[in-house]
Amino acid sequence: MREGILLFPRPARRSPPALRLRVVGMGALALLIFQAACKREERGFRVQPPSASAAEGSRMTDFQPGPRTPESPVKNEYEDNAYALSEGKRLFQEYNCSGCHFNGGGGIGPALMDDEWLYGDKPENIFETIVEGRPNGMPSFRGKVPDYQVWQLVAYVRSLSGQVGSNAAPGRSDHMQTSSPEQSRPRESPKLSGKPR
């Protein structure tokens, strides 16, 4: 709408140089330490996110009329990948997710670090939440965030409640700490409780 003002955050175009340097530096250091091909530190090329259509068969509830049809859960490889998770963390700030959800404690949007889910905790559910939006104030990011970044965000969102491997979850923050690092978050047992807000 307005010129001269960042209409869309950087990640879609490029990372801020300082950030890029630091992430690369950290990655290089980690590679040195771990040497051998460690999945945790794999960068983009071999780790493939699920396709967008993978989320299409998702259910928002376990409740089914009649016999249960088997699930085919979506595996988001980014959940075991430290680089993807750190990208997810950065994107969570830059797309202003943090402005509504903060570091998982919530504010305008619900808490994402607890065990309660309104629209499902599965990667495919969270993918749909981000892309479709949700009625009570969650904007739809469809067409604004590339799919692979949505999957990075999905992985990061799940790290907020300890759902991803703790060796891959971000262990530090570049900013003032207001909560424990994602890496040391207790693993919550997600419930589709949909407690009214």
Partner: protein, 613 residues
């Protein structure tokens, strides 16, 4: 933050003190100023020493916004006998900040989102519902409400009830039938705009403004024709003079506010277009001078490095002609705001004896921690005195009118600044004070909060938060997070004060019988002696109180006191929004200061009405 045990101990202490007080003339650990004088209210402003019609037509009671009632049945001596007369559940679980209205033996209540308007029949036992009006605002609007989906109330005028919905509609509803008379959309949620303020109706014009200083909105106040809902004028808080309705009659008192297009030149190029300055607080009106007064909110983003300059006309106060909106003067409380000190609090219009002369003043307890007394004809600051603990500034220079910032507390990118006092919600947020012409004192519900903050780069994406500040709040010196105090605006000093565990986020009410009322976030509704500050009575409501108490005369001739309970708001978001206390940064950092609130109250909107047996 506060262990629940000590909290219980505190409550017991209060109850004990209450008993002690009820039995004998008690002196609490409160300093009392014996000298109390009568203060004349400006003529033409109702609620003065004239008889009170016992109704409540607008949230602040009258145009001078004093929340003073001359009903006198409930007194310092009998307040202890107050009992619940009836209750009404609003069916809504978010923060209830509104004041009920009472007109023609009907009570009107606006709820938080979804902004239902209820009419209750006061002539029948238990005040049954006459009708309800449901505007059905867009549910997506909840995403652009920074600080819970609150609404601060409605206003009655010429047979209609006027109020704003969260999704930026102003509505007029027939007070008799509950039918919608008009509905005008005045803002856009996709630009981050929401509406939470209570309108003021002046000379057939419904004055309303937007919220969204955390979303990079461009603030405005607009006037709608009361009978048609058509927009009569709109005055922006940023941008060129023509948009701000600044013309040849604009005569600000201080040099810093004089010059052409300051709403553009005090910003980096184009930043004023998303610069904030919402108008979500209180408006007062002086019929004699024909001037309305209202404040403008914080500039956006919070990160001040992204907007070098004074950022006119944010964090200040405008005096305007209600007929055409033109600005007469402006004064900026917090130029180039550093800490989210919105300038939208109430201004109480009174005539005060100052240095031997009676001056037409407005009294403003401001978010930055000072009680300002301004000459309301000119915008000159007569005094600015701290009413809370302040580290962010060192005073106000009365020659230039300028707030003197403490450079040690200024944010700079990536640096964590500690002990910022008051915290972002200010020494006092929206919660309106009351003024008694009887005691000459201002009754100030307020906060005692400090914070650590770190500024980070904010990205503007329309409809999403535009803040750029990480915040962690905590209790200020003494450990109590709230205070209810009495303030003498002539002597510019505190007369007595009561410490409260939680921020006092409710409004205040005071009566001619020297009884003052307020509520606490853990649910106590309290009556205190307005002269000396000792507690007279308290009642535990179902949920924490952040509403505005009112008093009225029922059809039976009795005096009633009403308050909405239902915790929430920015301070109570942790309960209203089921937030997780393990993230202190939640709710813009308020979570850190309120992590124990979920142990002490639960949500639930309920009206309580009290009377003597």
């Amino acid at each position: 933050m506060q262990p629940s045990k000590s909290h219980i101990a505190k409550n017991i202490a209060v109850v004990l003190a209450l008993f002690a007080c009820a039995s004998a003339s008690c002196s609490r650990p409160i300093q009392s100023n014996a000298e109390v004088r009568e203060v004349r209210l400006p003529s033409g402003l109702s609620g003065s020493n004239e008889p009170d019609d016992g109704q409540w037509l607008m949230p602040a009671k009258n145009y001078s916004s004093n929340r003073f009632s001359s009903l006198d049945q409930i007194t310092v001596d009998n307040a202890r006998d107050l009992k619940v007369a009836w209750t009404f559940s609003t069916g809504i679980n978010r923060g209830h900040e509104a004041a009920p209205l009472v007109v023609n033996n009907t009570m009107y209540i606006v709820t938080p989102y979804p902004n239902i308007l209820y009419a209750l029949d006061l002539t029948k036992p238990g005040a049954p519902m006459k009708w309800k009006y449901e505007p059905k605002p867009s549910s997506a609007a909840q995403g652009v409400a920074c600080c819970d989906v609150v609404n601060r109330g409605a206003a009655f005028y010429d047979g209609k009830i006027f109020y704003n919905t969260l999704d930026d509609h102003t509505v007029a509803v027939d007070a008799q039938s509950g039918k919608e008379v008009w509905n005008t959309q005045v803002g856009d949620i996709n630009q981050g705009e929401s509406m939470t303020m209570a309108p003021l109706v002046v000379k057939d014009k419904v004055l309303v403004g937007n919220s969204g200083g955390e979303f990079g909105v461009r603030g405005w106040l607009t006037a709608l024709d009361a009978s048609s809902g058509k927009i009569a004028w709109k005055a922006y808080s940023t941008g060129p003079d023509v948009d701000c309705l600044i013309g040849s009659n604009f005569k600000p008192f201080y040099e810093a506010d004089q010059g052409k297009d300051l709403g553009v030149t005090t910003w980096p190029p184009d930043a004023w277009k998303i610069g904030g300055g919402g108008v979500w607080g209180w408006i007062s009106y002086d019929p004699e001078l024909n001037l309305i007064y209202y404040g403008t909110a914080n500039p956006g983003p919070w990160n001040p490095d992204q907007r070098p300059g004074d950022n006119k006309w944010t964090c200040g106060i405008f005096a305007r002609n209600p007929d055409n909106g033109e600005a007469l003067w402006f004064y900026q409380w917090s130029p180039h705001d550093l800490h989210d000190y919105d300038g939208v609090n109430e201004q109480i219009l009174i005539d005060l004896p100052i240095a031997g002369h009676t001056r037409k003043v407005l009294v403003r307890p401001e978010r930055n921690g000072y009680v300002y007394v301004l000459d309301r004809t000119s915008g000159e600051v007569l005094s600015a005195t701290p009413f809370a603990y302040i580290t962010t500034s060192k005073g106000v220079d009365l020659k230039t009118g300028r707030l003197i910032y403490n450079p040690e507390k200024s944010a700079s990118l990536g640096k964590v600044v500690r002990e910022i006092c008051p915290a972002s919600p200010g020494a006092k947020d929206w919660q309106p004070s009351a003024f008694s012409p009887k005691t000459g004192l201002l009754y100030l519900p307020h906060n005692n909060l400090c914070q650590d903050a770190e500024s980070v780069e904010a990205n503007y994406i329309a409809g999403t938060p535009y803040v750029g500040m990480n915040v962690k709040m905590y209790a200020g010196p003494g450990g109590n997070r709230g205070v209810f105090s009495a303030w003498d605006p002539v002597a510019a000093k505190e007369v007595w004060s009561i410490k409260e565990d939680y921020p006092v986020w409710s409004g205040a009410l005071v009566t001619t019988a020297n009884v003052a009322f307020y509520g606490t976030m853990d649910g106590w509704f309290k009556a205190v002696n307005a002269v000396a500050g000792e507690p007279l009575w308290q009642f535990k409501c179902g949920s924490g109180i952040i509403g505005q108490p009112i008093t009225y005369r029922g059809p039976d001739g009795k005096q009633y006191v009403a308050i909405l309970s239902g915790v929430g708001g920015w301070s109570g978001a942790i309960v209203a929004g089921n937030l997780d206390p393990r993230d202190g940064g939640g709710a813009l950092g308020f979570n850190n200061a309120m992590s124990d609130l979920p142990k002490n109250t639960v949500k639930g909107g309920m009206l309580y009405v009290f009377a003597l047996p």
